[in-house]
């Protein structure tokens, strides 16, 4: 087992269940017992960090650090320092961009996005996309910056998409109401809703005035 095993969804799960901080400690880069595991962990945790911060979490609460197994004293140092930082910040919801209980809802949405296929696929492909002589199916190699920019875009899309789905799961709504509740511009909201409709995740539930009402479509119906 390796930090490469740390699933971004597990990290989100910890916060959803009330953890005030998550510290992942892996081997030094180039010193990984499993060759590339710590590198993979960093890719995933960087992405998870960005996602959770976007959801409202103070980025201090998730950290990735490096140590060797022979550095007991330094392990303690890292922990003490991390715990100190988190204590200073206070419990989840204080010192974060969003307060409780809203933060918990946001984190639950982030969890869904991190467990979902899209982000996992792209962050999984990232090491291949940026590796010399590999790249995508057509042999195009990307810079890390390019992939990260794509990932940032997907994070925004996924957060919006899962927020809409979660809201519609609770009760059917019109685009303009969704947009207001979720603080996403109406044209954007419409775009996401239509995409979800195309993929069969939501369906029309009637019309209110001139606005169509959308509802969540359970998995069995898709």
């Amino acid at each position: 087992m390796c930090t490469g095993r740390v699933d971004p969804a597990l990290v989100a799960d910890a916060f959803v269940n009330g953890a005030d901080g998550v510290l992942v400690i892996g081997c030094y880069f180039g010193d990984c017992h499993y060759i590339t595991g710590n590198f993979m962990a960093k890719q995933k945790l960087d992405m998870a960090g960005e996602m959770l911060a976007y959801a409202g979490l103070n980025p201090i609460r998730l950290q990735f650090r490096n140590l060797s197994s022979a550095e007991g004293a330094r392990f303690a140092q890292h922990n003490t320092e991390f715990v100190g930082q988190i204590k200073e910040l206070g419990p989840l919801g204080t010192g974060d961009k969003v307060g409780m209980p809203k933060l918990k809802e946001q984190l639950e949405i982030a969890y869904k996005a991190l467990a979902g296929p899209k982000l996992r696929w792209v962050v999984g492909k990232k090491p291949v996309f940026i590796e010399k002589d590999k790249g995508n199916k057509y042999g195009e190699v990307f810079t890390e910056h390019e992939i990260n920019r794509t990932l940032s875009g997907i994070i925004i899309d996924e957060m919006a998409t899962h927020s809409i789905l979660t809201a519609l799961e609770k009760k059917p709504a019109a685009v303009k109401d969704l947009a207001k509740d979720l603080e996403i511009p109406a044209p954007e909201t419409l775009k996401y809703v239509l995409a979800l409709k195309r993929r069969g995740f939501v369906e029309m539930d009637g019309v209110e005035g001139t606005s169509p009402i959308y509802k969540f479509k359970p998995e069995e119906g898709r």
């Binding site: 087992m1 390796c2 490469g4 095993r5 740390v6 699933d7 971004p8 969804a9 597990l10 799960d13 910890a14 269940n17 009330g18 953890a19 499993y34 060759i35 590339t36 595991g37 993979m40 962990a41 995933k44 060797s68 022979a70 550095e71 007991g72 004293a73 330094r74 303690a76 467990a115 979902g116 296929p117 899209k118 996992r120 696929w121 999984g124 492909k125 090491p127 291949v128």
Partner: protein, 906 residues
């Protein structure tokens, strides 16, 4: 138990030799925290009790025995002499670091506090060292701002000591120490290395040197400083003359003496006792053809007692010696092997969960900090816990017996032991599970000692609460544990060796001698490889008879099938189960692969090569010496240019063997014609180890060495039909012009065709396209894919003796696979949790560091195919899979989440 109470109570402190005497340990001690066995031992010479006994008085003190809760101290223990009948002996006594205090007038080691040895410095840098890894100078515990390393202390020196050889490792470790020191330092640290030749000749060494020089700003000063004076503030004044002849006076906060490696006195004793021949430096004498065989049959040697060397080559020789011994003893394989037997396991899958929790006091290790009783009471409230017990020492034999008894009596089907670390004790408890007829994976450990009582000894209440957390988490995980069986796959007991040079043949012959079938595949129509062009080894032995014998044995061996003129067409499979098709149409199954495809000399486009017939490559000169000695006797002047192509931006590595080869050939030239002027144009002379003898001899017989830098390479021209070489001598600072009869170019050695091969075998190459080993230090002949090994020049350029040792090592590692009927894998590997969900996207295939996942077509579509035999259980696939189809046995998402929830919701 290794609890350490005895050492706490022991009143006697002595110098701690592990930290070179820079701090103290007790008279009862463990040498260092990671040693095996982790058991305390009494230093008889320091112990108050034994000191009294040994001087004929009554023993007093007994503190350790008084406080030991487990009566583990027995002052009556006597030395016992064992009489062992063994089939073979391997000597691996290692080295001792040269002690510079013997030459105090020169090195001031003992006199000046801030002059330390390199071993001292290793401990100063180490997190477990006397300064907890803080870089401070000994005199005032302040961080040094400047450190100088003095190279070749006790090496390459016949004036001050008798160690004329090069210690082979000091250049690299000095750079390493300087790098780590710079990284550790809070303020800028100036690192200066005083050296004679920078010998960074190994794999990836030159790049390391370049990084130190170019990126980290280390200073490399080519000279031996002559005087060191201690200033009033205990800093050190160094006087030296640089290679332009300028005198410098410079202050350093610290000096590190890069001490050489020498055979230890105990090693020499051991060698003499064994009756083996030692060389003039007291290393074990070996032949270049049998690098790990001593002069006495059946006695082998490996590591630094064979000659100074670094860790990977020591590890190679270790495996090589094992291979040599195993070939002798092949007929007795398995004769004395001990196999443990266990009762049949009870199937618990249909049972209701009945969990036993055993909370350990570990003497007072846990008990004095954690309220063990409260933890046990708490455990009773946890889901499915039906039995709870407190133990004084859970690991003691009677506690183990009782654990098995309780499993049977209470029909337990899950066990949690809250005690120490699974790292040291999990196997013991798992064995007890097996003895009690329960699958060992139904066991879980909660580490309430190392992770709790030891680190929170100041806060008993918090420690007790944390122990409860850990137990709750252990129970949560144990509730979801299932029985797992070891994974067994059949093993084809044969090897394929690619490459019919000396490395390939040696590997093939050793495996064949050990009784296994070998398919030896050579691209050319003849065995022998580049060695066919070699005249002699560096020790001077003719190669031809050795090689002819090797070829004959390979061709005649009943276990070897030679395939000449054959290349790989396709290789499929995994450890124990490979299948290969050759271009010749032949095909076979095999259990392992050894890659020994060699390397080639590179093309040259400079120094008039190809334009003037008197500009040659190295083997052309060797041929000339052999076939046309008269032309040499008539010649007046010969030039050799080193590093042609090597150590240049395009090929930033050292080809390792050219220096010694060039010098050996130069000596031959000079011996054929003592009047011949022989010029060696070099950058650094890298005659490491005992090859230094060749260099010293060359200089003593008047071979002229002129150094050049990369920015002022020698110029070769044709002037009036004659060759003319111009080179700038850095010592004189002006150009020297010579007109040689012939010039020899020592061209770089580069891998050839490794990329295609790597693709076919699905293995990785380093930047220079040499094959990449699984671990630079500890797994030097293995690919990261199981069952695949490498040796010879395809790994990196190296002399014949090292190729042979590496080939034997590869054979040894291959036989660890072939000697078993099955490949047995612990089941902590990737497994499907939802195979239906898998779409065969291949993401896990691309990211798996071990090539342990493939894609297969199934009736349900494309699916990942898990090759458990190659899986190491890192879990990258599990964290990646976007369909959540794959996970790691015993560490799946549900289990990890259950542990987290148990902690967060307590």
């Amino acid at each position: 138990m290794g609890c350490g109470i005895c050492a706490q109570k022991c009143p006697k402190k002595v110098k701690n030799e592990f930290n070179l005497g820079m701090d103290k340990r007790k008279a009862i001690y463990v040498p260092f925290a990671q040693t095996v066995p982790l058991k305390y031992t009494i230093d008889r010479k320091a112990c108050i009790y034994f000191k009294a006994i040994d001087s004929g008085k009554k023993g007093k003190c007994n503190a350790c025995a008084k406080f030991c809760e487990n009566d583990a101290i027995d002052f009556e223990q006597k030395e016992t002499i064992l009489d062992l009948n063994v089939g073979s002996v391997i000597l691996a006594p290692g080295f001792q670091a040269f002690d510079p205090s013997k030459f105090d007038a020169v090195y001031s080691y003992a006199g000046f506090k801030n002059v330390v040895t390199s071993m001292d410095f290793e401990r100063i840098l180490a997190a477990t060292g006397p300064t907890d890894g803080h870089l401070v100078r000994p005199s005032d515990k302040e961080q040094p701002k400047s450190i100088a390393w003095f190279q070749c202390v006790g090496s390459r020196d016949i004036n001050r000591c008798d160690n004329a050889y090069c210690s082979s490792v000091c250049c690299m470790y000095a750079i390493k120490e300087a790098m780590i020191a710079i990284e550790h330092a809070h303020d800028p640290l100036e690192a200066s290395i005083f050296f004679m030749d920078m010998r960074t000749y190994g794999k990836d060494f030159e790049k390391y040197y370049n990084r130190a020089k170019d990126d980290m700003g280390m200073r490399f000063i080519r000279c031996r400083p002559h005087t060191v004076i201690e200033n009033e503030d205990k800093s050190l004044n160094v006087r030296y003359v640089d290679d332009q002849g300028n005198i410098h006076n410079e202050d350093f906060d610290m000096i590190v003496l890069s001490q050489g490696l020498e055979p230890s006195t105990t090693a020499i004793d051991l060698g003499n006792k064994m009756g083996i021949e030692l060389d003039k430096y007291n290393f074990a004498k070996t032949s270049d053809f049998t690098p790990v065989a001593t002069s006495k049959p059946g006695v082998y040697v490996a590591g630094c007692f064979q000659g100074p060397k670094d860790i990977p080559y020591s590890v190679m020789e270790a495996s090589a010696a094992a291979a040599a011994a195993a070939a002798d003893l092949a007929s007795a394989r398995g004769q004395l092997e001990k196999i443990k037997e266990f009762p049949p396991e009870r199937d618990v899958s249909g049972e209701e969960t009945r969990m036993g929790v055993f909370v350990c006091n570990c003497g007072i290790n846990i008990g004095a900090v954690v309220d063990v009783h409260a933890v046990a009471e708490y455990a009773k409230t946890l889901p499915n816990v039906t039995y709870v017990q407190e133990n004084l020492f859970s690991c003691s034999q009677d506690a183990q017996d009782q654990l098995a008894e309780m499993i049977r009596e209470h029909n337990l089907n899950r066990v949690v032991v809250a005690a120490c670390s699974p790292r040291t004790h999990e196997p013991l408890f798992q064995e007890t599970m097996s003895n009690a007829g329960i699958n060992k994976h139904l066991f879980e450990m909660a580490n309430i000692r190392d992770q709790d009582s030891w680190v929170h000894s100041a806060d008993h209440d918090a420690a007790t609460e944390k122990a409860k957390d850990l137990v709750a988490m252990g129970v949560a995980k144990a509730n979801l544990r299932v029985a797992l069986e070891p994974i067994e796959v059949p093993c084809t007991k044969s090897a394929m060796v690619l490459g019919g040079g000396p490395a390939g043949m040696t590997a093939a012959l050793n495996i064949a001698d050990q009784g296994f079938k070998v398919y030896l595949v050579e691209k050319k129509d003849v065995l022998g490889g580049h060695a066919r062009k070699m005249r002699k080894t560096f020790q001077g032995d003719p190669v031809k008879p050795f090689l002819d014998n090797l070829v004959k044995r390979a061709n005649d061996h009943e276990n070897i099938e030679v395939h000449l003129g054959a290349e790989l067409k396709d290789v499929s499979g995994f450890v124990g189960n490979f299948h290969t098709d050759l271009t010749t149409g032949a095909s076979f199954d095999h259990g392992t692969v050894i890659v020994a495809v060699g390397a080639d000399s590179t093309k040259v486009k400079e120094y008039l090569y190809g334009e003037n017939p008197n500009v040659m490559k190295w083997f052309d000169l060797d041929k000339k010496i052999e076939e046309d000695p008269d032309s040499i006797k008539k010649a007046n002047c010969a030039v050799a240019i080193h590093c042609v192509g090597s150590r240049e931006p395009d090929m930033p590595y050292c080809s390792k063997i050219c220096c010694a080869h060039a010098i050996q050939s130069a000596i031959d030239l000079k011996e054929l014609n003592p009047d011949l002027d022989v010029y060696m144009l070099y950058r650094d002379i890298r005659t490491y180890g005992r090859l230094e003898d060749l260099y010293r001899k060359a200089r003593s017989i008047g071979i002229i060495f002129i150094r050049y830098d990369l920015d002022s390479k020698p110029k070769v021209e044709e002037v009036g039909g004659k060759l003319q070489v111009t080179v700038t001598d850095p010592l004189l600072g002006r150009p020297i012009v010579v007109s040689p009869d012939f010039i020899t170019l020592y061209t770089a050695i580069a891998p050839k065709g490794t990329e295609e091969l790597a693709n076919m075998l699905k293995v990785t190459l380093n930047q220079e396209k040499f094959f990449l080993e699984a671990h630079m230090k500890l797994r030097p002949v293995e690919f990261s894919t199981d069952g695949m090994f490498m040796c010879g020049l395809a790994h990196y350029p190296k002399p014949l003796d090292e190729c042979i040792a590496q080939a034997q090592a590869a054979a040894s590692r291959a036989v660890t696979v072939l000697s078993k009927d099955k490949v047995i894998i612990e089941p902590i590997v990737a497994a499907f949790v939802d195979k239906e969900a898998c779409r065969g996207c291949g993401l896990c295939v691309a990211l798996c560091p071990y090539g342990a996942i493939d894609i297969e077509e199934t009736p349900d579509g494309r699916k990942a195919k898990l090759i458990s035999a190659s899986c190491k259980g890192c879990g990258i696939c599990a964290a990646t899979c976007y369909r959540h189809a794959i996970s790691i046995n015993a560490f799946n998402d549900t289990q990890i989440e259950a542990q987290m929830h148990a902690f967060l919701n307590r």
